[in-house]
Symmetry: C2
Subunit: 155 residues, 2 copies
Amino acid sequence: MTAPDAPDDLTATANAFLGSVIPIAATMGVEFVELRPGFVRAAVPIEGNGNHFGVMYAGVIFTVAEVLGGAMHLASFDPSTHYPLVKKIDIEFLAPGRSRLTATASLPEDEIARMRAEAATGAKVPFVLAAEVVGEDGTLVARTRGDYQLRALGS
Amino acid sequence: MTAPDAPDDLTATANAFLGSVIPIAATMGVEFVELRPGFVRAAVPIEGNGNHFGVMYAGVIFTVAEVLGGAMHLASFDPSTHYPLVKKIDIEFLAPGRSRLTATASLPEDEIARMRAEAATGAKVPFVLAAEVVGEDGTLVARTRGDYQLRALGS
């Protein structure tokens, strides 16, 4: 069970963490909007992030999706014992981003259970996170598939 | 033949263009360091671009490689008739980036000739750009494979 106010606390903690550890993402205006075990969502404004077509720059779309790996770690695993590492990301750009964009990813409960069990052994724990990035009107702007690892701190 | 000073002029033009059209890349400190037809190189400093491991954030590594698509367009094709569009990028993170990073990509002459011929017909011209991102000590930090298109302006 999670207390009703836990997701808000978690989201605020994650945003404070983002601002201090990935300043460039905070400069873009990337922020977490919903975090709970197995579910993470981040957003980024169009203001300041446009390219020469007046649409959001690819590197910003990449970032709003990529930070979900760290958010999923914070929301679902133990940051006092493990850290997340990104190994590979495939990103498809499907439509221009012309508004605030929202990136969402989730992991099923059985996958989280597998990862927690493997993490407890001290092994590197690979996981795949698929994210969708959508505009305010619901347009699917980008899709990512990221290969991450959970690693024990100090390893 | 290219005049000896042409690459410097082209690089300066590309950097001015980058600063005005992708401000967030300029904020990261991304700059083009060598551009000529079929060959492009960009760099980005470690200062201000670190993450919580003290290494360069993934979104910055993505950006220094991704901007090579636009740079290749400027260096090799006609920006008065066509623009470049990124469709997909696969990026592998192979080692931590702990220094200034340099991203390099090239296209062979016959590929440029094919693209110029196809562009002249007004068709969308797909091209693949593979880039390597290396640290100051030569460490291979990341590898990307990008699917881009050249498109006629107004299309």
